[in-house]
Protein backbone atom coordinates (compact mmCIF):
# COMPACT_ATOMS: atom_id res chain seq x y z
CA UNK A 1 0.00 0.00 0.00
CA UNK A 2 1.44 3.34 -0.95
CA UNK A 3 1.75 6.06 1.65
CA UNK A 4 -1.17 8.41 1.56
CA UNK A 5 -1.01 12.01 2.65
CA UNK A 6 -4.37 12.81 4.20
CA UNK A 7 -5.15 16.24 5.66
CA UNK A 8 -5.00 14.75 9.14
CA UNK A 9 -1.49 13.47 8.55
CA UNK A 10 -0.31 16.78 7.15
CA UNK A 11 -1.80 18.65 10.10
CA UNK A 12 -0.13 16.41 12.68
CA UNK A 13 3.23 16.49 10.89
CA UNK A 14 3.00 20.28 10.70
CA UNK A 15 2.21 20.68 14.39
CA UNK A 16 5.08 18.35 15.30
CA UNK A 17 7.39 20.49 13.18
CA UNK A 18 6.14 23.69 14.81
CA UNK A 19 6.70 22.12 18.23
CA UNK A 20 10.22 21.21 17.16
CA UNK A 21 11.00 24.81 16.20
CA UNK A 22 9.44 26.13 19.43
CA UNK A 23 11.65 23.84 21.51
CA UNK A 24 14.87 24.27 19.60
CA UNK A 25 14.75 28.01 18.88
CA UNK A 26 15.23 29.38 22.44
CA UNK A 27 17.91 26.75 23.11
CA UNK A 28 19.86 27.75 20.01
CA UNK A 29 19.40 31.42 20.85
CA UNK A 30 21.00 30.78 24.25
CA UNK A 31 23.84 28.92 22.63
CA UNK A 32 24.51 31.59 19.98
CA UNK A 33 24.12 34.51 22.40
CA UNK A 34 26.91 33.21 24.64
CA UNK A 35 29.29 34.37 21.95
CA UNK A 36 27.79 37.82 21.36
CA UNK A 37 29.38 41.04 22.54
CA UNK A 38 27.58 43.08 25.20
CA UNK A 39 26.77 45.75 22.61
CA UNK A 40 25.20 43.11 20.41
CA UNK A 41 23.08 41.79 23.27
CA UNK A 42 21.78 45.27 24.09
CA UNK A 43 21.27 46.40 20.49
CA UNK A 44 17.89 47.61 19.37
CA UNK A 45 16.26 46.04 17.48
CA UNK A 46 17.59 42.66 18.65
CA UNK A 47 18.60 39.92 16.26
CA UNK A 48 19.20 36.20 16.48
CA UNK A 49 22.69 36.20 14.99
CA UNK A 50 25.55 38.40 16.22
CA UNK A 51 26.47 41.42 14.10
CA UNK A 52 29.80 42.19 15.75
CA UNK A 53 31.08 38.66 15.19
CA UNK A 54 31.73 35.96 17.75
CA UNK A 55 33.64 36.47 20.99
CA UNK A 56 34.73 34.30 23.92
CA UNK A 57 34.88 37.30 26.26
CA UNK A 58 31.76 36.29 28.19
CA UNK A 59 33.30 32.98 29.20
CA UNK A 60 36.51 34.72 30.24
CA UNK A 61 34.77 37.42 32.27
CA UNK A 62 32.10 35.44 34.04
CA UNK A 63 34.58 33.88 36.50
CA UNK A 64 35.59 37.35 37.72
CA UNK A 65 32.05 38.72 37.94
CA UNK A 66 30.50 36.04 40.13
CA UNK A 67 31.90 33.16 42.27
CA UNK A 68 30.91 30.72 39.54
CA UNK A 69 33.69 28.30 40.42
CA UNK A 70 32.40 28.10 44.02
CA UNK A 71 28.84 27.56 42.79
CA UNK A 72 30.04 24.85 40.47
CA UNK A 73 32.10 23.11 43.13
CA UNK A 74 29.22 23.27 45.65
CA UNK A 75 26.75 21.85 43.15
CA UNK A 76 29.09 18.97 42.30
CA UNK A 77 29.71 18.14 45.97
CA UNK A 78 26.00 18.41 46.82
CA UNK A 79 24.53 16.59 43.82
CA UNK A 80 27.21 13.90 43.56
CA UNK A 81 27.29 13.38 47.34
CA UNK A 82 23.53 12.92 47.50
CA UNK A 83 23.60 10.62 44.48
CA UNK A 84 26.34 8.32 45.77
CA UNK A 85 24.94 7.98 49.30
CA UNK A 86 21.35 7.66 48.22
CA UNK A 87 22.05 5.03 45.56
CA UNK A 88 23.99 2.99 48.13
CA UNK A 89 21.45 3.25 50.95
CA UNK A 90 18.41 2.91 48.67
CA UNK A 91 19.83 -0.20 47.02
CA UNK A 92 20.51 -1.74 50.45
CA UNK A 93 16.97 -1.04 51.63
CA UNK A 94 15.44 -2.04 48.29
CA UNK A 95 17.40 -5.27 48.43
CA UNK A 96 16.09 -6.07 51.91
CA UNK A 97 12.49 -5.43 50.85
CA UNK A 98 12.86 -7.47 47.67
CA UNK A 99 14.92 -10.48 48.72
CA UNK A 100 14.93 -10.95 52.50
CA UNK A 101 12.17 -12.37 54.69
CA UNK A 102 11.84 -10.45 57.93
CA UNK A 103 9.24 -9.28 60.38
CA UNK A 104 7.68 -5.96 59.44
CA UNK A 105 8.54 -6.10 55.73
CA UNK A 106 5.01 -5.26 54.67
CA UNK A 107 4.20 -2.30 56.91
CA UNK A 108 7.66 -0.80 56.52
CA UNK A 109 7.34 -0.87 52.73
CA UNK A 110 3.90 0.70 53.01
CA UNK A 111 5.51 3.44 55.09
CA UNK A 112 8.05 3.97 52.30
CA UNK A 113 5.25 4.28 49.73
CA UNK A 114 3.44 6.85 51.89
CA UNK A 115 6.68 8.79 52.38
CA UNK A 116 7.03 8.92 48.60
CA UNK A 117 3.76 10.86 48.31
CA UNK A 118 4.65 13.65 50.74
CA UNK A 119 5.51 16.90 48.97
CA UNK A 120 8.73 18.57 50.07
CA UNK A 121 6.93 21.88 50.71
CA UNK A 122 4.98 20.31 53.54
CA UNK A 123 8.02 19.49 55.61
CA UNK A 124 10.52 22.14 54.57
CA UNK A 125 10.18 24.46 57.55
CA UNK A 126 10.74 21.85 60.29
CA UNK A 127 13.54 20.42 58.15
CA UNK A 128 15.18 23.81 58.17
CA UNK A 129 14.75 24.05 61.97
CA UNK A 130 16.18 20.56 62.43
CA UNK A 131 19.23 21.15 60.27
CA UNK A 132 19.80 24.42 62.11
CA UNK A 133 19.55 22.71 65.51
CA UNK A 134 22.00 20.04 64.38
CA UNK A 135 24.44 22.85 63.67
CA UNK A 136 24.91 21.87 60.03
CA UNK A 137 22.96 24.65 58.32
CA UNK A 138 24.98 26.21 55.50
CA UNK A 139 27.40 23.24 55.36
CA UNK A 140 27.81 20.40 52.87
CA UNK A 141 26.54 17.88 55.41
CA UNK A 142 23.44 19.99 55.94
CA UNK A 143 22.80 19.88 52.21
CA UNK A 144 23.60 16.20 51.69
CA UNK A 145 22.36 14.31 54.78
CA UNK A 146 18.60 15.07 54.51
CA UNK A 147 18.69 13.73 50.95
CA UNK A 148 20.98 10.74 51.57
CA UNK A 149 18.08 8.36 51.09
CA UNK A 150 14.93 8.66 49.02
CA UNK A 151 11.69 6.71 49.22
CA UNK A 152 11.42 6.71 45.43
CA UNK A 153 14.94 5.27 45.23
CA UNK A 154 14.03 2.42 47.56
CA UNK A 155 10.91 1.76 45.49
CA UNK A 156 12.91 1.79 42.25
CA UNK A 157 15.75 -0.41 43.49
CA UNK A 158 13.30 -2.88 44.99
CA UNK A 159 11.62 -3.29 41.60
CA UNK A 160 15.00 -4.13 40.03
CA UNK A 161 15.93 -6.67 42.73
CA UNK A 162 12.51 -8.31 42.58
CA UNK A 163 12.98 -9.09 38.90
CA UNK A 164 16.21 -11.07 39.46
CA UNK A 165 15.87 -14.88 39.21
CA UNK A 166 14.59 -16.72 42.26
CA UNK A 167 16.97 -18.45 44.65
CA UNK A 168 20.00 -16.69 43.19
CA UNK A 169 21.18 -16.05 46.74
CA UNK A 170 21.27 -19.76 47.61
CA UNK A 171 24.48 -20.40 45.67
CA UNK A 172 26.14 -17.65 47.69
CA UNK A 173 24.92 -19.08 50.97
CA UNK A 174 26.27 -22.51 49.97
CA UNK A 175 29.64 -20.86 49.21
CA UNK A 176 29.65 -19.49 52.74
CA UNK A 177 29.13 -15.82 51.89
CA UNK A 178 27.38 -13.71 54.53
CA UNK A 179 24.31 -11.66 53.65
CA UNK A 180 26.22 -8.46 52.95
CA UNK A 181 28.67 -10.25 50.65
CA UNK A 182 25.77 -11.84 48.79
CA UNK A 183 24.23 -8.38 48.27
CA UNK A 184 27.50 -6.68 47.37
CA UNK A 185 29.20 -9.32 45.24
CA UNK A 186 26.34 -11.31 43.78
CA UNK A 187 23.18 -9.22 43.53
CA UNK A 188 24.25 -5.58 43.22
CA UNK A 189 26.34 -6.10 40.05
CA UNK A 190 23.21 -7.48 38.37
CA UNK A 191 21.34 -4.28 39.13
CA UNK A 192 23.88 -1.93 37.62
CA UNK A 193 21.39 -0.43 35.17
CA UNK A 194 19.00 0.19 38.06
CA UNK A 195 21.73 2.02 39.94
CA UNK A 196 22.60 4.15 36.92
CA UNK A 197 18.92 4.96 36.34
CA UNK A 198 18.44 6.04 39.95
CA UNK A 199 21.79 7.83 39.99
CA UNK A 200 20.91 9.95 36.97
CA UNK A 201 17.44 10.67 38.33
CA UNK A 202 18.91 11.90 41.61
CA UNK A 203 21.76 13.78 39.97
CA UNK A 204 19.40 15.66 37.66
CA UNK A 205 16.89 16.56 40.36
CA UNK A 206 19.47 17.74 42.86
CA UNK A 207 21.61 19.54 40.30
CA UNK A 208 18.58 21.54 39.17
CA UNK A 209 16.89 21.97 42.54
CA UNK A 210 16.26 25.53 43.67
CA UNK A 211 14.08 25.83 46.78
CA UNK A 212 16.01 23.30 48.89
CA UNK A 213 19.53 24.71 48.43
CA UNK A 214 18.10 28.21 48.68
CA UNK A 215 16.82 27.42 52.18
CA UNK A 216 19.76 25.36 53.35
CA UNK A 217 22.51 27.79 52.38
CA UNK A 218 22.84 31.38 53.50
CA UNK A 219 26.27 32.55 52.40
CA UNK A 220 27.31 33.22 48.82
CA UNK A 221 30.23 30.77 49.14
CA UNK A 222 27.85 27.87 49.85
CA UNK A 223 25.31 28.55 47.10
CA UNK A 224 24.70 26.00 44.36
CA UNK A 225 24.46 26.99 40.70
CA UNK A 226 20.65 27.26 40.71
CA UNK A 227 20.42 29.20 43.95
CA UNK A 228 23.51 31.32 43.29
CA UNK A 229 22.55 32.36 39.77
CA UNK A 230 19.07 33.40 40.89
CA UNK A 231 20.59 35.70 43.50
CA UNK A 232 22.88 37.37 41.00
CA UNK A 233 20.31 37.75 38.29
CA UNK A 234 17.80 39.09 40.80
CA UNK A 235 20.22 41.82 41.75
CA UNK A 236 20.89 42.57 38.06
CA UNK A 237 24.43 43.19 39.17
CA UNK A 238 26.23 41.76 36.18
CA UNK A 239 26.06 42.20 32.43
CA UNK A 240 23.97 40.16 30.01
CA UNK A 241 26.85 38.31 28.39
CA UNK A 242 28.42 36.84 31.53
CA UNK A 243 24.95 35.94 32.88
CA UNK A 244 24.22 33.90 29.78
CA UNK A 245 27.67 32.30 29.94
CA UNK A 246 27.08 31.31 33.59
CA UNK A 247 23.70 29.86 32.65
CA UNK A 248 25.26 27.77 29.91
CA UNK A 249 28.04 26.55 32.20
CA UNK A 250 25.38 25.42 34.69
CA UNK A 251 23.58 23.42 31.98
CA UNK A 252 26.57 21.78 30.30
CA UNK A 253 27.30 18.85 32.66
CA UNK A 254 23.77 17.44 32.48
CA UNK A 255 23.56 18.04 28.73
CA UNK A 256 26.80 16.13 28.24
CA UNK A 257 25.61 13.21 30.36
CA UNK A 258 22.29 13.32 28.50
CA UNK A 259 24.08 12.93 25.18
CA UNK A 260 25.73 9.70 26.28
CA UNK A 261 23.23 8.16 28.68
CA UNK A 262 19.89 9.26 27.31
CA UNK A 263 18.02 6.04 27.96
CA UNK A 264 18.73 6.21 31.69
CA UNK A 265 17.13 9.66 31.94
CA UNK A 266 13.97 8.26 30.43
CA UNK A 267 13.99 4.97 32.34
CA UNK A 268 13.65 6.71 35.71
CA UNK A 269 10.57 8.57 34.46
CA UNK A 270 9.00 5.44 33.01
CA UNK A 271 9.47 3.72 36.37
CA UNK A 272 7.98 6.64 38.27
CA UNK A 273 4.92 6.14 36.06
CA UNK A 274 4.64 2.57 37.32
CA UNK A 275 3.76 3.62 40.81
CA UNK A 276 0.54 5.27 39.63
Amino acid sequence: MAKQWTWGKIASAASILVLFVIVIHPMSWLFVSNFKTEADLLRFPPSFFPRDGFTFANFREVWERIPLLDFFKNTVIFAVGVTVLSVLFDSMAGYAFARLKFKGNKWMFTAVLITMMIPFQVMMIPLFVEVYKLGILNTYWGLILPRASSAFGIFLMRSFFVSLPKDLEESGRIDGLNEFQIYWKLMLPLCRSGMVTLGIYLLMNNWNDLLYPLMMTSSAEMRTLSAGLVMFVGQRSIEYGPTLAATTVSLLPLLLIYMFAQKYFVQGIATSGLKG
Partner: protein, 302 residues
Protein backbone atom coordinates in the same frame (compact mmCIF):
# COMPACT_ATOMS: atom_id res chain seq x y z
CA UNK B 1 35.66 -4.79 69.88
CA UNK B 2 35.76 -8.52 69.22
CA UNK B 3 32.30 -8.94 70.75
CA UNK B 4 31.06 -6.27 68.37
CA UNK B 5 32.50 -8.17 65.45
CA UNK B 6 31.04 -11.46 66.63
CA UNK B 7 27.67 -9.75 67.07
CA UNK B 8 27.82 -8.32 63.55
CA UNK B 9 28.81 -11.68 62.11
CA UNK B 10 25.96 -13.49 63.81
CA UNK B 11 23.50 -10.93 62.39
CA UNK B 12 24.98 -10.99 58.91
CA UNK B 13 24.65 -14.73 58.53
CA UNK B 14 20.91 -14.66 59.26
CA UNK B 15 18.77 -13.13 56.50
CA UNK B 16 15.91 -12.21 58.84
CA UNK B 17 18.27 -10.21 61.04
CA UNK B 18 20.57 -8.87 58.30
CA UNK B 19 17.52 -7.21 56.75
CA UNK B 20 17.38 -4.71 59.61
CA UNK B 21 21.02 -3.78 59.10
CA UNK B 22 20.33 -3.21 55.40
CA UNK B 23 17.39 -0.96 56.27
CA UNK B 24 19.11 0.97 59.03
CA UNK B 25 20.68 3.90 57.09
CA UNK B 26 17.58 4.64 55.02
CA UNK B 27 15.26 4.17 57.99
CA UNK B 28 17.29 6.63 60.05
CA UNK B 29 17.49 9.26 57.31
CA UNK B 30 13.85 9.02 56.27
CA UNK B 31 12.63 9.12 59.88
CA UNK B 32 14.77 12.07 60.91
CA UNK B 33 14.48 14.12 57.72
CA UNK B 34 11.02 13.25 56.37
CA UNK B 35 8.69 11.68 58.93
CA UNK B 36 9.64 13.84 61.92
CA UNK B 37 9.45 17.10 59.87
CA UNK B 38 6.04 16.20 58.45
CA UNK B 39 4.64 15.66 61.94
CA UNK B 40 6.50 18.72 63.22
CA UNK B 41 4.86 20.91 60.55
CA UNK B 42 1.58 20.39 62.38
CA UNK B 43 3.24 21.24 65.69
CA UNK B 44 5.02 24.36 64.49
CA UNK B 45 1.83 25.62 62.82
CA UNK B 46 0.40 25.89 66.34
CA UNK B 47 3.36 27.88 67.65
CA UNK B 48 4.86 31.34 67.46
CA UNK B 49 8.36 30.88 66.09
CA UNK B 50 10.68 32.97 63.96
CA UNK B 51 13.56 32.03 61.70
CA UNK B 52 16.16 32.89 64.37
CA UNK B 53 14.46 30.38 66.71
CA UNK B 54 14.78 32.82 69.61
CA UNK B 55 11.23 32.49 70.81
CA UNK B 56 8.82 29.59 70.69
CA UNK B 57 5.50 29.67 72.48
CA UNK B 58 2.10 28.14 71.96
CA UNK B 59 -0.25 30.00 69.65
CA UNK B 60 -3.12 27.56 69.35
CA UNK B 61 -5.20 27.99 66.23
CA UNK B 62 -4.28 31.68 65.89
CA UNK B 63 -2.40 31.13 62.63
CA UNK B 64 -5.32 29.38 61.00
CA UNK B 65 -7.61 32.24 62.03
CA UNK B 66 -5.05 34.65 60.61
CA UNK B 67 -5.04 32.62 57.39
CA UNK B 68 -8.78 33.03 56.89
CA UNK B 69 -8.45 36.84 56.89
CA UNK B 70 -5.15 37.06 55.03
CA UNK B 71 -5.90 38.60 51.64
CA UNK B 72 -2.41 37.87 50.41
CA UNK B 73 -2.89 34.15 51.12
CA UNK B 74 -6.18 34.09 49.20
CA UNK B 75 -4.50 35.97 46.38
CA UNK B 76 -1.71 33.37 46.32
CA UNK B 77 -4.26 30.57 46.34
CA UNK B 78 -6.14 32.22 43.47
CA UNK B 79 -2.92 32.60 41.48
CA UNK B 80 -2.00 28.97 42.09
CA UNK B 81 -5.46 27.83 40.97
CA UNK B 82 -5.20 30.03 37.86
CA UNK B 83 -1.81 28.49 37.10
CA UNK B 84 -3.04 24.93 37.61
CA UNK B 85 -6.30 25.28 35.67
CA UNK B 86 -4.54 26.60 32.56
CA UNK B 87 -1.15 24.89 32.81
CA UNK B 88 -2.24 21.28 33.45
CA UNK B 89 -4.57 20.89 30.44
CA UNK B 90 -2.11 22.68 28.14
CA UNK B 91 0.78 20.50 29.24
CA UNK B 92 -1.18 17.25 29.05
CA UNK B 93 -2.51 18.19 25.61
CA UNK B 94 0.90 19.17 24.25
CA UNK B 95 2.59 16.07 25.62
CA UNK B 96 -0.17 13.80 24.35
CA UNK B 97 0.06 15.33 20.88
CA UNK B 98 3.82 14.85 20.85
CA UNK B 99 3.70 11.38 22.42
CA UNK B 100 1.26 9.97 19.88
CA UNK B 101 3.50 11.13 17.08
CA UNK B 102 6.86 10.03 18.48
CA UNK B 103 5.89 6.79 20.26
CA UNK B 104 7.05 4.53 17.40
CA UNK B 105 10.69 3.54 17.61
CA UNK B 106 12.00 4.87 14.30
CA UNK B 107 15.26 6.80 14.17
CA UNK B 108 13.61 10.10 13.30
CA UNK B 109 11.00 9.78 16.05
CA UNK B 110 13.62 8.86 18.63
CA UNK B 111 15.52 11.97 17.62
CA UNK B 112 12.39 14.12 18.02
CA UNK B 113 11.78 12.55 21.41
CA UNK B 114 15.24 13.44 22.67
CA UNK B 115 14.87 17.01 21.40
CA UNK B 116 11.46 17.50 23.05
CA UNK B 117 12.90 16.17 26.29
CA UNK B 118 15.85 18.60 26.22
CA UNK B 119 14.23 21.48 28.19
CA UNK B 120 13.16 18.99 30.88
CA UNK B 121 16.75 18.27 31.91
CA UNK B 122 17.57 21.97 32.29
CA UNK B 123 17.02 23.82 35.56
CA UNK B 124 14.21 26.32 35.89
CA UNK B 125 16.86 28.81 36.93
CA UNK B 126 18.71 28.55 33.62
CA UNK B 127 15.55 28.38 31.52
CA UNK B 128 13.97 31.23 33.46
CA UNK B 129 16.99 33.47 32.93
CA UNK B 130 17.02 32.73 29.20
CA UNK B 131 13.30 33.45 28.82
CA UNK B 132 13.49 36.67 30.84
CA UNK B 133 16.12 37.89 28.38
CA UNK B 134 14.09 36.78 25.38
CA UNK B 135 11.05 38.63 26.71
CA UNK B 136 12.78 41.82 27.81
CA UNK B 137 10.65 44.80 26.68
CA UNK B 138 13.56 46.53 24.89
CA UNK B 139 16.20 44.01 23.98
CA UNK B 140 14.15 40.80 23.96
CA UNK B 141 14.19 38.91 20.68
CA UNK B 142 10.72 37.46 21.19
CA UNK B 143 9.30 40.85 22.18
CA UNK B 144 10.57 42.00 18.79
CA UNK B 145 9.06 39.01 16.93
CA UNK B 146 5.72 39.56 18.68
CA UNK B 147 5.86 43.28 17.91
CA UNK B 148 6.30 42.43 14.25
CA UNK B 149 3.23 40.22 14.52
CA UNK B 150 1.24 43.18 15.83
CA UNK B 151 1.55 42.80 19.60
CA UNK B 152 2.38 45.84 21.72
CA UNK B 153 5.97 46.19 22.84
CA UNK B 154 5.49 45.40 26.54
CA UNK B 155 7.40 43.59 29.24
CA UNK B 156 5.41 40.38 29.29
CA UNK B 157 6.82 39.40 32.68
CA UNK B 158 6.27 42.87 34.16
CA UNK B 159 2.70 43.32 33.07
CA UNK B 160 0.04 42.42 35.69
CA UNK B 161 -2.22 40.81 33.08
CA UNK B 162 0.42 39.05 30.98
CA UNK B 163 2.88 37.88 33.63
CA UNK B 164 1.00 34.75 34.70
CA UNK B 165 0.12 33.51 31.19
CA UNK B 166 3.77 34.01 30.24
CA UNK B 167 4.97 31.97 33.22
CA UNK B 168 2.43 29.29 32.32
CA UNK B 169 3.52 29.04 28.68
CA UNK B 170 7.15 28.88 29.65
CA UNK B 171 6.38 26.10 32.15
CA UNK B 172 4.56 24.09 29.49
CA UNK B 173 7.52 24.62 27.17
CA UNK B 174 9.96 23.31 29.77
CA UNK B 175 8.02 20.35 31.15
CA UNK B 176 5.87 18.86 28.36
CA UNK B 177 8.79 16.67 27.27
CA UNK B 178 8.85 15.06 30.68
CA UNK B 179 5.18 14.04 30.65
CA UNK B 180 5.53 13.08 26.98
CA UNK B 181 8.03 10.40 28.06
CA UNK B 182 5.52 9.05 30.60
CA UNK B 183 2.86 8.83 27.90
CA UNK B 184 5.26 7.28 25.37
CA UNK B 185 5.95 4.51 27.90
CA UNK B 186 2.18 4.04 28.25
CA UNK B 187 1.62 4.01 24.47
CA UNK B 188 4.33 1.44 23.88
CA UNK B 189 2.57 -0.89 26.29
CA UNK B 190 -0.54 -1.06 24.07
CA UNK B 191 -0.40 -4.35 22.11
CA UNK B 192 -0.19 -3.83 18.35
CA UNK B 193 -2.74 -6.59 17.77
CA UNK B 194 -5.52 -4.26 19.00
CA UNK B 195 -4.81 -1.84 16.18
CA UNK B 196 -4.53 -4.63 13.63
CA UNK B 197 -7.91 -6.02 14.68
CA UNK B 198 -9.45 -2.56 14.37
CA UNK B 199 -7.94 -2.11 10.90
CA UNK B 200 -9.52 -5.36 9.76
CA UNK B 201 -12.83 -3.91 10.94
CA UNK B 202 -12.08 -0.90 8.75
CA UNK B 203 -11.49 1.65 11.51
CA UNK B 204 -9.81 4.92 10.49
CA UNK B 205 -6.99 6.53 12.44
CA UNK B 206 -9.33 8.83 14.35
CA UNK B 207 -11.56 5.94 15.43
CA UNK B 208 -8.51 3.93 16.44
CA UNK B 209 -7.30 6.86 18.54
CA UNK B 210 -10.61 7.36 20.34
CA UNK B 211 -11.52 3.68 20.57
CA UNK B 212 -8.19 2.10 21.48
CA UNK B 213 -5.44 4.58 22.31
CA UNK B 214 -7.30 6.79 24.77
CA UNK B 215 -8.97 4.00 26.82
CA UNK B 216 -5.77 1.95 26.95
CA UNK B 217 -3.81 5.02 27.93
CA UNK B 218 -6.06 5.96 30.86
CA UNK B 219 -3.70 4.60 33.58
CA UNK B 220 -0.68 6.50 32.20
CA UNK B 221 -2.85 9.53 31.45
CA UNK B 222 -4.34 9.63 34.94
CA UNK B 223 -0.90 9.36 36.51
CA UNK B 224 0.24 12.21 34.28
CA UNK B 225 -2.73 14.42 35.13
CA UNK B 226 -2.40 13.79 38.86
CA UNK B 227 1.37 14.36 39.08
CA UNK B 228 1.16 17.43 36.83
CA UNK B 229 -1.58 18.86 39.04
CA UNK B 230 0.40 18.19 42.23
CA UNK B 231 3.40 19.83 40.60
CA UNK B 232 1.31 22.83 39.54
CA UNK B 233 0.03 23.35 43.09
CA UNK B 234 3.65 23.45 44.30
CA UNK B 235 4.90 25.84 41.64
CA UNK B 236 7.77 27.97 42.90
CA UNK B 237 11.01 27.87 40.87
CA UNK B 238 9.89 29.59 37.67
CA UNK B 239 8.02 32.29 39.59
CA UNK B 240 10.98 32.94 41.86
CA UNK B 241 13.37 33.22 38.93
CA UNK B 242 11.25 35.20 36.46
CA UNK B 243 8.92 37.48 38.43
CA UNK B 244 9.63 37.15 42.18
CA UNK B 245 5.87 36.96 42.58
CA UNK B 246 5.30 40.33 40.95
CA UNK B 247 4.04 42.51 39.46
CA UNK B 248 1.63 43.49 42.26
CA UNK B 249 1.78 39.91 43.63
CA UNK B 250 -0.03 38.76 40.50
CA UNK B 251 2.21 35.70 40.18
CA UNK B 252 2.84 34.97 43.85
CA UNK B 253 1.90 31.33 44.37
CA UNK B 254 1.20 29.55 47.66
CA UNK B 255 4.69 28.04 47.92
CA UNK B 256 6.27 31.37 47.00
CA UNK B 257 4.20 32.95 49.77
CA UNK B 258 5.30 30.27 52.26
CA UNK B 259 8.91 31.01 51.34
CA UNK B 260 8.36 34.76 51.67
CA UNK B 261 6.61 34.52 55.03
CA UNK B 262 9.22 32.18 56.51
CA UNK B 263 12.47 33.25 54.94
CA UNK B 264 12.38 36.60 53.18
CA UNK B 265 9.90 38.96 54.88
CA UNK B 266 10.26 40.24 58.45
CA UNK B 267 9.23 38.92 60.99
CA UNK B 268 10.23 35.57 59.37
CA UNK B 269 7.24 33.85 60.89
CA UNK B 270 7.92 30.09 60.69
CA UNK B 271 4.77 29.27 62.65
CA UNK B 272 2.53 31.06 60.17
CA UNK B 273 4.48 29.67 57.22
CA UNK B 274 3.89 26.14 58.60
CA UNK B 275 0.18 26.85 58.93
CA UNK B 276 0.09 27.74 55.21
CA UNK B 277 2.00 24.50 54.44
CA UNK B 278 -0.60 22.51 56.34
CA UNK B 279 -3.38 24.22 54.39
CA UNK B 280 -1.61 23.49 51.09
CA UNK B 281 -1.09 19.86 52.07
CA UNK B 282 -4.78 19.42 52.84
CA UNK B 283 -5.71 20.92 49.47
CA UNK B 284 -3.26 18.66 47.60
CA UNK B 285 -4.45 15.60 49.51
CA UNK B 286 -8.14 16.23 48.80
CA UNK B 287 -7.51 16.93 45.11
CA UNK B 288 -5.26 13.89 44.66
CA UNK B 289 -7.70 11.54 46.36
CA UNK B 290 -10.71 12.79 44.41
CA UNK B 291 -8.87 12.70 41.07
CA UNK B 292 -7.61 9.23 41.85
CA UNK B 293 -11.15 8.14 42.57
CA UNK B 294 -12.48 9.71 39.37
CA UNK B 295 -9.88 7.94 37.24
CA UNK B 296 -10.29 4.59 39.00
CA UNK B 297 -14.00 4.72 38.20
CA UNK B 298 -13.16 5.55 34.58
CA UNK B 299 -10.76 2.65 34.33
CA UNK B 300 -13.23 0.12 35.66
CA UNK B 301 -16.09 1.43 33.52
CA UNK B 302 -14.10 1.04 30.28
Amino acid sequence: MSTDKRFLRSWLTRPDKAAYLFLLPSALILSVFVIVPVIATLGISLMNMDVFLKKADFAGLDHFRQLADDERFWNALKNTAYFAVIEVPLQVFASLLAAVYVAKNTKFRKFLRSVYFLPAICSFTAIGIAWSFLLDPQTGLYTEYLYNLGFPRIGFLRDPVWAMPTVILMTVWKTFGYTMMLLVAGLQNIPNSYYEAAEIDGAGSFRKFVGITIPMLIPALSFTVITTTIGALQVFDQVFVMTQGGPLNKTETVVAYIYNVGFSMAPYDLGYASAISVALFVIILILTLSMNRYFTNKETSM
